[in-house]
């Protein structure tokens, strides 16, 4: 993580585009912060990229029965809205809770079976053509 931010800092000098990645990760970590206080262990890793409006990215993830997960997404773009939802391998919406607050969104899964789930991230609206986003998750 530290290495990632150091490298990002270096690349920021080269191109302003990288700053948005850095900021999107910070927003995602901001979104998951309340759950850290509830005992969720946050994985020191991030997923992300940039998406157009209404464009989605699906991240398949093996979740384990008995674990409780929060997936959080954030973007640095002002006035953008992002969403995150979780489906099981049959395409059924599986989250037990979710919320959306502008640049942040989150979905909770209390996995009832071990298997592959699809975390779908989406930019629902944005003033920009491409919107950088980042996702982090925690479990307990």
């Amino acid at each position: 993580m530290r290495r990632f931010f150091l490298l990002l800092g270096f690349y920021t000098v080269l191109t302003p585009a990288y700053a948005t990645v850095d900021d999107a990760i910070s927003r995602a970590l901001e979104a998951i912060d309340p759950y850290v206080k509830e005992g969720y262990i946050v994985r020191d890793d991030q997923w992300g990229g940039d998406l157009g409006v209404k464009e989605q990215k699906a991240v398949p993830h093996v979740l384990f029965k008995g674990n409780d997960y929060w997936f959080c997404i954030g973007t640095d773009v002002d006035n953008a809205r992002v969403a995150i939802h979780v489906y099981d391998s049959k395409g059924k919406l599986i989250e037990s809770d979710s919320w959306q607050k502008g640049r942040f969104a989150a979905a909770r899964v209390q996995a009832s079976a071990t298997g592959t789930y699809y975390i779908i991230a989406e930019v629902t609206s944005s003033p920009k053509e491409r919107t950088s986003w980042a996702m982090v998750y925690g479990f307990k």
Binding site: A17, T20, K54, K57, V59, H61, F64, G91, R130
Partner: protein, 265 residues
């Protein structure tokens, strides 16, 4: 897409027109087969902590009986060291479950030594120091976090060194040792719930695909070849209802593979 710097530069620009917009009110059902490939990322390899977190809730197995001494002196090609490194980190989780302070500290040193052998020592130095410090204070949750972090840091360092193949092998080594332990525990006290932990066909497929697309010099490695055959044998057992017999066979295969990794055979 994961964490690599180029992801912002190379992100896909092909948009879907057939997949429903989720937004704030997502549909209860979607057709995943209509998800365009450009929108689908690689499967996320779970952290060992995620598996052991569930095992914590499955009673109190004889963790000390599951401990093995890694053969870190039997070192061969970089591929074998990467596999060994992954399996040693997984061993660290078993040692945490067994609350074996000295073994955890030894594993911290082993991780450092193996990382040195493949040129990523600096990346994990602070993690391995913390593993030792936290083991001394019996901060088991903290040790788990550092083991997870060491695994992630090593893999990312390898990707930065343009050695992604080795990073996959580290994950695979960890998965094999983890699966050996899980099947051993499940087999001793079988239940549908505990066997459900092994329902990871997409993860297995991911490892198989990664091995199949490795450069010939890696695929030609005798150990890698053996592992590829082992995964092919496990695959049909994980793609169906996981019976006690399947659990036993998966355990036998993964045990043989972990032994081969440890003996560089």
């Amino acid at each position: 897409m994961k964490r690599n710097l180029p992801w912002i530069l190379f992100s896909a620009t092909i948009l879907s027109t057939s997949f429903p917009v989720l937004g704030d009110n997502p549909p209860n059902q979607i057709d995943l087969s209509k998800l365009p490939a450009t929108q689908l990322d690689d499967v996320v390899v779970p952290l060992p902590s995620e598996v052991f977190n569930v095992l914590d809730k499955l009673g109190t197995p004889d963790w000390k009986g599951e401990l093995r001494a890694p053969g870190i002196n039997n070192r061969g090609a970089r591929a074998q060291i990467a596999l060994l490194l992954g399996s040693v980190v997984a061993e660290g989780f078993v040692a945490v479950e067994a609350t074996d302070k000295e073994r955890v500290k030894q594993i911290g040193h082993n991780v450092l030594e193996l990382s040195r052998a493949i040129g990523v020592e600096k990346t994990v130095l602070s993690r391995t120091n913390l593993i030792v410090i936290k083991a001394d204070t019996r901060d088991w949750v903290g040790v788990r976090c550092e083991l997870d972090g060491a695994l992630t840091d090593v893999k990312n360092a390898m990707i930065e060194l343009k050695d992604a193949q080795l990073a996959y092998l580290v994950s695979l080594g960890g998965w094999l040792r983890g699966t050996e332990v899980v099947t051993s525990i499940v087999h001793k006290n079988y239940s549908l719930d505990s066997a459900d932990l092994l329902n990871q066909p997409d993860l297995l497929k991911y490892f198989q695909e990664r091995l199949a697309t490795m450069p010939p010099r890696v695929r030609g490695n005798q150990l890698v070849n053996k592992i590829q055959k082992g995964l092919d044998e496990i695959s049909p057992l994980i793609h169906q209802k996981i019976t006690p017999t399947s659990v036993e066979r998966i355990n036998e295969v993964t045990s043989q593979l972990v032994k081969a990794i440890n003996s560089n055979a």
